[in-house]
């Protein structure tokens, strides 16, 4: 039985459809990432799984239970990390973990948890004075107090510095090693690729693709061969040889719009050899990033990389 599954999930806010037919599942011990630009429906989806939202339609099961109607049975077995807040601002990590421990029948000892998330040194610092990364780790610790079988993490690495991310990553890997199912959302491709066993790419409330990072990378944007060599090659000659369009995409990176066959790759290698040009790299599959961009496109809602973006206010 999958730890988490939903099929044909639809979530509406008034007349707006935030989630439009999402189906997904995750097994125990698996890390599943919902990847997509802001406003794609990731948080709405995860909040249905957590039991916060009533779906307009679709079937949802977490550990075999209905998150709304069997909420009381389910909450003791799941852990939740909200996108923002969720912790008393004036209370330090130790006190709030101690409090949450009392909610659960068999909690993780507070000392163990503080060490695990690396908050022992700031255990008495009020939550509002913790750094972004420390707040996220405190929220993560609270999601783990009850030894959950499924953990839902909404943007766990948002606002966390690179060092903090490494810590969060190893924590999440540790969860999966203990057979905990992790369902997380992120709008960062690299984060999803590093953390997740499987990815589900969502845009405008719909699943565009799903699979492992390698599987997704294989689904390029059509028949393409990419190679790298020295810059400024006279590609007109190669176009004649292959009978296909060749473009120098970036300096010394070339894209050939042709179905990759052994003949094609051999022809490229030969053509380069005749010009004494070294073949540095040749790929017949797209990278995950290329797949992602070809699927998601450059929607206006996509993040601007140069500027740290603010979270969209949810209703």
């Amino acid at each position: 039985m999958p730890a988490v599954e939903c099929s044909e999930l639809v979530v509406r806010y008034g007349t707006t459809t935030a989630v439009d037919g999402v189906s997904l599942s995750a097994e125990p011990g698996e890390v599943l990432a919902l990847l997509g630009p802001n406003g794609a429906g990731k948080t709405s989806t995860i909040e249905v799984l957590e039991g916060y939202r009533e779906p307009a339609s679709g079937r949802v099961r977490v550990l075999g239970l209905d998150p709304r109607r069997q909420h009381r049975d389910l909450v003791a077995r799941i852990g939740v990390m909200l996108q923002r807040g969720g912790v008393y601002p004036m209370v330090g990590p130790r006190r709030v973990i101690d409090l949450f421990a009392r909610y659960y029948p068999d909690p993780v000892p507070t000392d163990e948890l503080l060490d695990l998330v690396g908050l022992a040194e700031v255990e008495r610092t009020p939550w509002r004075h913790l750094s972004g990364g420390e707040q996220q780790r405190c929220s993560l610790a609270l999601s783990l107090v009850g030894r959950p079988e499924v953990v839902f993490l909404d943007e766990p690495t948002a606002g966390v510095d690179p060092e903090g991310r490494i810590g969060l990553r190893s924590l999440i890997a540790g969860l999966s090693a203990r057979n905990t199912c992790v369902v997380m959302t992120t709008h960062e491709l690299a984060e999803a690729e590093r953390l997740a066993d499987r990815l589900v790419i969502i845009r405008s409330g719909q699943v565009l693709a799903g699979g492992t990072a390698a599987e997704l990378a294989g689904r390029g944007s059509g028949p393409v061969v990419r190679f790298s060599s020295r810059p400024g090659l006279d590609i007109g000659g190669l176009e004649l040889v292959l009978g296909a369009v060749v473009i120098e995409e970036t300096r010394s990176s070339y894209r050939v719009e042709v179905t990759p066959t052994p003949t094609v790759t051999a022809a490229i290698a030969t053509w380069l050899a005749e010009r004494d040009a070294e073949l540095i790299e040749l790929r017949t599959t797209a990278s995950l990033e290329e797949t992602y961009l070809s699927l998601v496109g450059t929607e206006p809602s996509a993040p601007t990389p140069a500027r740290p973006q603010r979270q969209r206010r949810r209703r």
Binding site: E50, G51, Y52, R72, V75, A76, I78, V80, L82, R84, G85, G86, V87, Y88, P89, M90, V91, R95, D98, L99, F100, R102, Y103, Y104, L142, G146
Partner: protein
């Protein structure tokens, strides 16, 4: 039960650490009791000032804790996503509400243990026809539920900052219209009639009777408080938004 008790302890700890809460629940009532008992500016007629002031300020203290402190804290917990997060734990909502009620009652006991000795020190005595501590306790319990419901009603629908302003504004209005400092008889007739329908005046009239020797507790006090203590929590529970 373990969860409930832990929640009561945590809520009490947080309440007693919020400076603004201590100011409104203990600081202001103490200042009022001392000042208005010693400086005879209130139109209390032939009744000694302290005899009027102590029951009135006890009523104010109840309103401060059950409505202002509970309401503003809950509003901020809602804004910070704490209430939402607790919804995904095994702590049941009824236990959370029970913990908040227990915390309010605990703070009221602290207020009583500060204000009553100060009142006694200033010359307040429980004497006169109709004084009854059990009746006073009953009135305080009803009023706690009524004010708590009003505080949660506002906290459950307004943004945290708006809620804070609204709760404090309401506190000021009810302080002036509640017969706590100014006897209701000094208000214009229409305003006094309106004020009598509010829980503040009902509680202070009841306490003036049961603790100040102003005669038997008016039936009106019981009726008004009973209605508010049913209506306000009911409306709050129907309208409360957890996130």
């Amino acid at each position: 039960m373990r969860a409930l008790w832990a929640q009561v302890r945590a809520e009490t700890w947080m309440t007693l650490r919020r400076g603004e809460t201590l100011l409104v629940t203990v600081g202001i009532p103490v200042v009022f009791v001392v000042f208005f008992s010693e400086v005879h500016v209130l139109p209390t007629g032939r009744v000694p000032a302290v005899t009027f002031v102590v029951p009135g300020i006890l009523a104010l203290a109840v309103m401060s804790t059950a409505m202002v402190a509970l309401g503003s804290a809950t509003g901020f917990e809602r804004a910070y996503g704490v209430l939402k997060r607790l919804g995904a734990t095994p702590l049941r909502r009824d236990r959370l509400v029970a913990a908040k009620i227990a915390t309010v009652v605990g703070v009221e006991l602290i207020q009583g243990s500060v204000l009553v000795p100060i009142g006694l020190g200033l010359g307040w005595r429980l004497a006169g026809a109709g004084t009854s501590v059990p009746q006073a306790v009953g009135l305080v319990l009803l009023a706690t539920i009524a004010f708590g419901g009003v505080g949660l009603l506002l906290a459950g629908v307004l943004r945290a900052e708006v809620n804070l302003a609204a709760t404090n504004g309401l506190y000021l209005v009810l302080l002036l219209l509640g017969g706590m400092l100014v006897p209701l008889s000094k208000l214009p007739g229409g305003l006094a009639a309106f004020a009598r329908l509010l829980p503040a005046a009902a509680l202070s009239s009841g306490l003036h009777a049961s603790l100040g020797g102003a005669g038997a507790v008016p039936v009106e006090s019981w009726v008004v408080l009973a209605i508010w203590s049913l209506a306000s929590p009911t409306v709050a529970s129907l309208t409360f938004r957890w996130e």
